[in-house]
């Protein structure tokens, strides 16, 4: 289900070609006021282009009520400011808003509310009045509201604006778990560091025009263009670029994470540290059983994924790396320490991928999966 789109729209955006492809991680990058929000509203038919067409799949969008209703349940938009899109008085009422408008049965709606709230970590807040929530909680509620319509494409406008660092990471973790479930995610932002390791298809806008589409490293290598777009190079990119230039080597292949970059500078070969993976679906975890299986006590423990967090809370486990779990485990391994990561059943692939990608930068880490 891809989106194709070439259009112009009053003064806001002009001659924009944009494609969001199925199952991909797409990013619209640009400074404030460059037209990102206008583009987003074209994607769900709220704004109509003055010229050009928006295609959903193979069909051009038609602006009649039936088509739009279906389109908007397939394409959910989460706005930057949660107060702009939370209209109801309690959390569950707001999450129910979308599904009820689609005419679903009360039972179905109830189920969806439960699952959406669980996904964003707000179960138990169902009957809380909205004005009692903090900003971060409201953001999660608006995300739950968008998920409740079971979208195929989720568009997030500045998803981490105003969030503190830990919440930001949690939001991106949720985005990653959605991708694993087959939902395409489009993020619009000006935070280059947030998306550098995440993006697959990058689109850059400036003053209403699309000035770049393609690979992130290609864009960030062009410093003047980055500068003109009101952005900056991601810190890892910049560090890598400068360091490699100083050492007289070429910056490519571009490390995207801290561990990749450090590994490139100081490749450890085969590291003695191992990463143990424990997959969970949210059930209680027996710490003794794990330690026995591993043969070691007191290993640092990391957690990644919403179900994993639930397990950990339930089991009252002592967690060392609550955020950025995968990176932390890799780092431990690089200094020859073992570590354990508790991860959602569906997200094990993210861990193995990360370790695999590290090989290209000169470090090999062995993974052991714990099976009971």
């Amino acid at each position: 289900m891809s989106y194709r789109y070439g259009n112009s729209n009053y003064n806001a955006i002009d001659s924009v070609d944009f494609t969001a492809s199925h199952g991909r991680r797409t990013v619209i990058l640009g400074e404030n006021g460059c037209g990102k929000s206008t583009l987003i509203y074209q994607l769900n038919g709220v704004y109509k282009p003055v010229s050009g067409t928006v295609f959903y799949g193979d069909m051009p969008i038609s602006y009649d009520k039936e088509f739009l209703t279906e389109l908007r349940s397939d394409v959910s938009v989460v706005l930057q400011n949660p107060d702009d899109q939370i209209f109801s008085s309690t959390v569950e009422e707001d999450v129910a808003f979308g599904p009820l408008n689609l005419g679903l049965s009360r039972e179905e709606v109830g189920e969806r509310i439960g699952r959406s709230l669980e996904c964003v970590g707000m179960s138990g807040f169902a009957e809380v009045p909205v004005q009692r929530l903090s900003y971060g909680q409201k953001k999660r509620v608006s995300l739950a509201g968008a998920l409740a319509s079971h979208p195929k494409i989720l568009v997030l406008d500045e998803p981490t604006a105003g969030l503190d660092p830990q919440m930001s990471r949690e939001v991106m973790e949720i985005a990653n778990s959605l991708i694993r479930e087959g939902i395409s995610v489009v993020v619009s932002t000006h935070d280059v560091n947030l998306i550098y390791n995440w993006v697959e298809d990058l689109y850059v806008m400036r003053n209403g025009h699309m000035v770049f589409s393609g690979d992130a490293d290609e864009f960030f290598s062009d410093r003047p263009s980055v500068y003109l777009s009101g952005l900056e190079q991601p810190s890892i990119f910049s560090i890598n670029h400068n360091m490699e230039t100083l050492r007289g080597t070429i910056p490519a292949s571009y490390p995207k994470t801290m561990s990749q970059m450090v590994s490139r500078l100081f490749p450890s070969g085969s590291s003695a540290g191992r990463i143990f993976i424990y997959q969970t679906e949210g059930e209680r975890i027996d710490q003794d059983a794990i330690e026995e299986a591993v043969g070691k006590k007191g290993m640092p423990i990391a957690v990644y994924g919403p179900s994993a967090r639930r397990s950990v809370t339930r089991s009252k486990l002592r967690v060392d790396f609550y955020f950025n779990g995968i990176e932390c485990c890799i780092r431990e391994a690089m200094v020859n320490h073992d570590s354990l990561i508790i991860v959602d059943r569906g997200l094990k692939g993210i861990v193995t991928e990360a370790v695999e990608e590290l090989r290209a930068y000169g470090t090999r880490i062995s993974i052991r999966e714990l099976v009971f």
Binding site: E31, N32, G33, S134, Y135, G136, A161, G162, L163, D164, P165, Q166, M167, R169, H190, D191, V192, N193, Y227, G230, L231, E232, S235, I236, S238, I239, N242, M243, T245, L246, R247, M258, S259, M261, V262, L265, F266, S268, D320, Y322, F323, N324, R331, M334, V335
Partner: protein, 379 residues
């Protein structure tokens, strides 16, 4: 630099009808001339704390001192305090009360009871420093978020404060605007206005702050230098923060390369110098500017074999360069950018405000702590 500017003693505060203390037993000393950052997650009490520094909120228990005297809560003394301590809130929309930009900037000075001519002068100066002269007659409602933030800053500066407190100054700003704002904060601080801000952007505070105070759930859990705070990973996590990239990389690299963690690089050039000692760094040429830039000198320096890049540092230099339409590569971030180029062995030229030359020189000089001496030349 060590005279206490603000001091709180056993500060407790609870909002009416609030559950729990918004601030509990806070004992913080903010020193004059120290670049201070208050850090903490959302809801930790940073804004509440700031409101105590200019008398908007009254402690439920405990006291707050400004320059050794207890903060007043009414009358002339309070008005004087507020003219000396300017607070800028996070959302500019909450702080704009007049239809036109110049009217809003004049709000503060007018409330100080100054005569029309002084008010006009202050407005003009404020517009100049913040770089928004072109917005003078515009309606406030039409401005973008970043422009509104600058109008609010201008409004605060028009009161000629001795202390400028900013709550999340870079929230919502795109990367370049953020850099511009922080560079301006640097300039103001160096020229005598103590700048204090709050943020949860750990990278920003790590590179800028001399001293940090960390708030968690209304309590002050740490006061001191940045690097010591990040040593305690569980404290960082509990406070809702993460380690800055620079800190992380330094620790990882030091561990792998087997070299000591200190000194802690706070900026990219410092990190580069520490990790990869440069052989034959280039020279940073500094051209002090006071008034219009000497075009001839500029051209003579940049022509020929010379400079791989040019930059400007400081409001006056920037304005002059713009007015003279000089070719400049680094309008912002010249300090970092040109030093990096120097590490790559290239020569660069920075047109710098005369009053900021010593600041620039000290930034260049700091590189020697990290293993590379970067030469500079003052013209």
């Amino acid at each position: 630099m060590s005279a206490p500017l603000f001091r709180t003693e056993g500060l407790f505060f609870r909002y009416e009808g609030g559950r729990g203390d918004a601030l509990a037993d806070v004992n913080i000393t903010i020193k004059e001339g120290a670049r201070t950052v208050i850090m903490g997650a959302n809801g930790a009490g940073k804004s509440t704390f700031f409101y105590h520094l200019n008398g908007v909120l009254r402690p439920s228990k405990g006291s707050v001192f400004f320059r050794g005297e207890k903060i007043p809560h009414r009358g002339k003394a309070l008005r004087k305090l507020r003219s000396e301590v300017a607070v800028m809130l996070q959302d500019p929309n909450d702080q704009l009360f007049a239809p036109k930009v110049s009217d809003d900037i004049a709000f503060g000075p007018k409330n100080l009871g100054l005569d029309a001519q002084t008010v006009g002068e202050r407005v003009r100066d404020a517009l100049y420093i913040t770089g928004i002269e072109s917005l003078e007659g515009r309606s406030v409602m039409q401005l973008s978020f970043g422009q509104k933030k600058r109008v609010v800053l201008a409004g605060a500066l028009a009161m000629h404060p001795k202390v400028l407190i900013m709550d999340e100054p870079t929230a919502g700003l795109d990367p370049q605007m953020s850099k511009e704002l922080i560079e301006l904060a640097d300039e103001l601080h160096h020229l005598g206005t103590t700048v204090i801000f709050s943020t949860h952007d750990v990278d920003l505070s790590y590179s800028w702050a001399d001293e940090v105070h960390v708030l968690r759930g209304g309590r002050n859990v740490y006061s001191g230098s940045s690097e010591r705070f990040y040593d305690d990973t569980s404290e960082v996590y509990l406070s809702g923060l993460v380690e800055p990239a620079m800190y992380d990389i330094n620790v990882s690299i030091s561990e792998l390369a087997g070299c000591p963690v200190e000194p802690f690089p706070k900026t990219l050039p410092q990190l580069m110098a520490k990790a990869v000692p440069s052989e034959g760094p280039g020279t940073v040429h500094i051209l002090p500017v006071e008034g219009p830039v000497d075009r001839e000198l500029f051209s003579s320096l940049t022509s020929g074999s010379g400079m791989s890049a040019t930059g400007v540092y400081g409001t006056n230099a920037r304005k002059s360069a713009e007015a003279s339409k000089l070719p400049i590569d680094y309008f912002f971030g010249a300090d970092e950018g040109c030093i990096i180029e120097a590490l790559h062995g290239k020569d660069t030229l920075i047109c710098c405000d005369r009053s900021l030359t010593d600041l620039l020189i000290s930034k260049i000089g700091s590189m020697s702590r990290f293993g590379t001496e970067v030469p500079y030349s003052l013209h």
